[in-house]
């Protein structure tokens, strides 16, 4: 199908972009890579009075290490981050999960910030931001606001972004050296939406942080104590019932819980083995 009519606006600077966004508010949509937005416009699931194309704004197309954080601008595409030479050492979790984000062809265009702004419950990048305790930088005519990942994503496709705010950048904390992570997901076909995505990160000798996407509206993050025996397995069993899961055309809630029970312990073991 073809999208409904809209105005096309391509600002040259962030200041121009937030000025236009202030003018249109809720009636505008930010267009960066458009890998979710254009599909939804074509299917007429969303409509907009104006699309504000930020893909060519040079100040948004930057990957910057600032102190103990990596700041990624809103125009940075996923494959550019995947090709960043420092990715594996500074952001190993993103190194592990970015190859699962869509396909080669959509990663060439889809942006890191766009995935976070879109807030699909099964998306890998919002899961990594929640796991790492990252931040979202919002800009508007009113100024700049920085939100923790846990305050930003509210639920299915829902965030704390105000209608006049632009997601200008996201900040991922740099991993400590020898950081141990693992990631797995189950999808019908590599690159399709994950039914369940699970990430694990060794926090200290006795515990891992577990992140689960696809069970609830926003990524679920839990600390799992590893006091030997079946502790981790029991914790995941409790977690599966706790999160419950939801039903859609891809899987029932029961299948989601089952997948979590099966891949959860495997991912924890992989992260721990990595640490040994």
């Amino acid at each position: 199908m073809k999208p409904r009519k809209f105005a096309y606006i391509r600002p040259d600077t962030v200041d121009e972009a937030v000025a236009v966004l202030g003018e249109y508010g809720d009636d505008a949509r930010i267009l960066a890579g458009g890998q979710s937005l254009m599909a939804m416009l074509n299917l007429r699931l969303v409509e907009a009075a104006a699309l504000i194309d930020i893909a060519r704004i040079p100040e948004l197309d930057t990957i910057r290490v600032a102190g103990d954080k990596v700041e990624i601008g809103a125009a940075v595409v996923q494959n550019r981050l995947l090709a960043w030479p420092d990715l594996k050492s500074r952001l190993p979790l993103l190194g592990a999960l970015l190859p699962f984000v869509g396909h080669f062809q959509t990663r060439n265009r889809g942006t890191v910030c766009g995935s976070i702004a879109h807030a699909d419950p099964s998306s890998e990048i919002p899961l990594s931001l929640a796991m790492l305790g990252g931040e979202v930088v919002l800009r508007s005519l009113r100024g700049t606001r920085v939100l923790a990942a846990s305050d930003f994503q509210r639920g299915v496709l829902t965030t704390a972004r105000e209608p006049d705010e632009l997601v200008a950048a996201v900040r991922f904390p740099v991993a400590p050296s020898r950081h141990r992570v693992a990631f797995r997901e189950v999808a019908r076909r590599h690159g399709d939406f994950a039914i369940i995505a699970v990430a694990a990160m060794v926090e200290d000798a006795g515990a891992v942080r577990l992140g689960v996407g696809g069970m609830t509206g926003a990524p679920a993050i839990r600390r799992i104590e590893m006091n030997g025996g079946t502790a981790a397995r029991d914790a995941i069993e409790t977690l599966a019932w706790d999160l419950e899961g939801f039903e859609d055309i891809h899987a029932s809630a029961r299948l989601r819980r089952d997948i979590l029970r099966r891949i959860g312990p495997v991912v924890i073991e992989e992260a721990c083995r990595c640490a040994a």
């Binding site: 409904r4 105005a7 391509r10 267009l31 599909a39 194309d53 396909h103 062809q105």
Partner: protein
């Protein structure tokens, strides 16, 4: 700042396969429709129009992406490369196309232009791709005729031939 109103037909110009082209388009016109209906370049195929099937894949500034998830306006002043650019002026197929012919990597040919363009970009950046790499990139395309076996054989051979996009 570029601003085009919803009903306005703006002039859009870019480079298509090295040639300067232009035409008029409303903001909502997709790059695929601009190529096919305005410029008459029908090599790029349109399947699902929501980014799933991959048959509309073209290169923009050398990078493979979905033509159906791109507005014509977004291609303004960019270099767009389509399947029409692959064969020589005399119609001689390039190495990638030759491998597709040899291994019967197509039947109806609907998905073929998109697959060729994806791998034109991918092989340029990844000259020593493994079969697993190739299968992962091919995962961004749907073919309903071949069962993919011939396509994988063709791509593996083209990758080993050294300069498949030549």
């Amino acid at each position: 700042m570029r601003r085009v109103n919803p009903d306005e037909r703006a002039k859009i110009a870019f480079w298509l396969n090295g040639r300067r082209v232009s035409g008029e388009a409303e903001p909502r016109m997709l790059l695929t429709d601009f190529l096919r209906h305005v410029l008459g370049a029908t090599g790029t195929h349109v399947g699902c129009e929501h980014g799933i099937c991959g048959s509309c894949t073209v290169l923009i500034d050398g990078v493979a992406q979905r033509g159906c998830l791109t507005l014509a306006a977004q291609a303004e002043e960019r270099a767009v490369t389509t399947v029409e650019s692959l064969a020589g002026a005399d119609g001689a197929l390039n190495a990638l196309q030759t491998a597709f012919q040899k291994h019967h990597a197509l039947q109806c040919g609907f998905c073929t232009p998109g697959i060729l363009m994806s791998f034109t970009d991918y092989f340029a950046r990844n000259p020593n791709a493994s079969e697993a790499d190739i299968r992962a990139v091919l995962g961004g395309h749907l073919c309903r005729c071949t069962g993919y076996a011939g396509i994988v054989e063709a791509l593996v051979e083209a990758s080993r031939s050294g300069n498949p996009a030549a």
